[in-house]
């Protein structure tokens, strides 16, 4: 179930943010997107979700076109999105957030069980409102809610941003498990150590274009790429 993006252009009003982006995410692999602020990483994810319309180019999942679909149809085709800043339903409980996440796929008990096994801490917090969770727990819930869709592709926008090291480790462990389960993970990340630990491929974005798309093994000995494109 590969997600394939070819020559994708998109933007907001008169401003074009993405210029002919081509990109591929494979099942069981973590594809990272890196770049400086304003490079277009988050816009790319929103465009994949249909939240920002594509102006040209194609987005396909296993050969089936997704571009042009209304935004609410994209998650039903197997793509889940965890936006930057979590975006939970704050006044609702953990259980309600998960139930809302899984409604369109019928809230299958086995899916919920799998999700809560991945994040056992959420099982202890089911009746707690999302707004009262710690930052790390909120991030877990955001990912868990997305996983309730039982996605084939998971888009994560800076999932470890602002979290303490112990929480970052838990989130990273979860990504490794998802990868092992065959989910295609697209990860927007700024932290080099996380990318080197999790990613299989890394695409570097500059000004709305993917300027390099490399296997991570080649990057381990090439710190210049990170310095050039991310500034770290």
């Amino acid at each position: 179930m590969a997600l394939e993006v070819v020559s994708l252009s998109s933007g907001y009003g008169p401003i074009t943010v993405l210029h002919g982006v081509s990109f591929r995410a494979e099942p069981g692999r973590v594809s990272c997107i890196m770049g400086r602020n304003g490079a277009g990483k988050s816009t790319l994810l929103k465009c994949l979700m249909g939240l920002v319309p594509a102006r040209s180019g194609t987005i396909t999942l296993n050969g089936v076109a997704l571009h042009g679909l209304p935004a609410h149809e994209v998650p039903r085709r197997g793509i889940a999105y965890v936006p930057q800043g979590r975006r939970l339903f704050g006044p609702l409980t953990v259980a309600e957030n998960l139930a809302i996440g899984g409604l369109v796929t019928g809230n299958r008990p086995e899916t919920l069980h799998r999700v809560l096994t991945l994040f056992p801490r959420l099982r202890e917090r089911l009746t707690q409102t999302a707004a009262t969770l710690s930052g790390g727990e909120q991030q877990m819930l955001a990912i868990a809610r997305a996983l309730c869709l039982d996605p084939r592709v998971l888009l994560l926008d800076e999932p470890t941003e602002g979290l303490q090291p112990s929480m970052i480790a838990l989130i990273q462990e979860a990504i490794v498990v998802l990868k092992a389960r065959g989910v295609a993970v697209v990860l927007v990340e700024q932290r080099v150590d996380a990318v080197l630990k999790l990613a299989d491929r890394v695409a570097f974005m500059v000004s709305g274009r993917i300027v390099e798309d490399r296997d991570v093994s080649g990057l381990r000995a090439d710190a210049d790429a990170f310095r050039t494109y991310v500034g770290v």
Partner: protein
């Protein structure tokens, strides 16, 4: 919002028992008032489903109330329909009118939605005045006693009227409770909280909001029809803006997004208006003052505040 199912159902059943029993200890005057309040509460419950749970701040619900009222009372007046079929016609008219308005109005959001729904309601109000020979216009018309019967009982008499109002109220309350605790209820809340977040979880906001508005319209239509059948009068004043604002006040006072809030709000507001109008002809000033105090000190309404502070399980 969910959880504690037995406790929640027990609370609502207890409220219904108390309301039902009230007819035995209230004076006839106050029992009739309670019947009026129950019908108004049904209207407010519908408004609450749209506003309190789905986040649709409408200023056009008077149109839905009037649609139900005239869909029930005109056939009763012209063709001698009895209360049963007239009530069904009223409920259906409320839902259909809400669907028709929603198809256009839901293409807007926020303040624009308020203005568009207000415009629809004003257009409906003027239409009722324009067709005065049929609708009775500003003066309205009294329903014939023969049409105000159900199962052989006259709704013009106290006990059948109270029981009919109670039946409608109890059905509305329990249906509302079941709805907000269902999957669709959660979807409505998700929509209220954030449309874009809901969209990225696979929900079509337009469909969900339209469905919520239609359900709200069914309640409003039922309340309009019941008012005409129980109290024997239909008039254009029920399509005026006052009846778009009243359910909002009931809901805000009782607690938006709480199942019992609309009823509590209707009780308090009904008697506040009655008390204030005894004191002064400018009674709306007192009502307004009470609302300002409420918004300042309990912006989530009475039950909303109780839920926030002491009873998170309250639906």
């Amino acid at each position: 919002m969910t959880g504690g199912g037995a406790r929640i159902w027990a609370l609502h059943a207890a409220v219904l028992v108390v309301v039902f029993a009230a007819q035995y200890w209230l004076s006839p005057y106050h029992a009739t008032n309670l019947a009026r309040i129950m019908v108004l509460a049904v209207f407010a419950m519908g408004y609450n489903l749209a506003f309190g749970y789905t986040g649709l701040l409408s200023l056009g619900h008077a149109l839905l109330l009037a649609a139900g009222m005239y869909a029930a009372s005109i056939p009763a007046q012209l063709w001698g329909w009895t209360a049963g079929p007239a009530l069904i016609a009223g409920i259906a008219a409320g839902g259909l009118m809400a669907g028709a308005v929603g198809l256009l109005a839901l293409r807007t959001a926020g303040v624009s939605f308020m203005i568009v729904t207000l415009m629809f309601a004003q257009a409906g109000f003027l239409t009722i005045l324009y067709f005065a020979p049929v609708t009775g216009g500003d003066d309205g018309f009294a329903l014939p006693a023969a049409s105000r019967t159900i199962l052989g009982f006259s709704l013009a008499t106290d006990t059948p009227r109270f029981l009919a109002a109670f039946g409608l109220f109890a059905s509305g309350l329990l249906a509302s409770l079941a709805l907000v605790r269902s999957s669709f209820g959660r979807t409505m809340v998700a929509m209220r909280e954030n449309e874009e977040r809901s969209r990225m979880l696979g929900y079509n906001p337009f469909t969900v909001k339209l469905a919520a508005l239609v359900i709200s319209g069914l309640y409003a239509g039922g309340a309009g029809a019941a008012w005409a059948l129980l109290f024997g009068y239909a008039g254009a004043s029920f399509a005026s803006i006052q009846y778009s604002i009243l359910p909002m006040l009931y809901v805000l006072l009782g607690g938006a997004g709480t199942v019992l809030g609309p009823f509590l709000g209707a009780v308090l507001m009904f008697y506040l208006i009655e008390f204030a109008s005894d004191l002064t002809s400018a009674y709306l000033f007192i009502v307004g003052l009470a609302l300002v105090i409420l918004v300042l000190f309990a912006p989530k309404g009475i039950l909303g505040t109780i839920r926030e502070r002491w009873a998170r399980w309250l639906p």
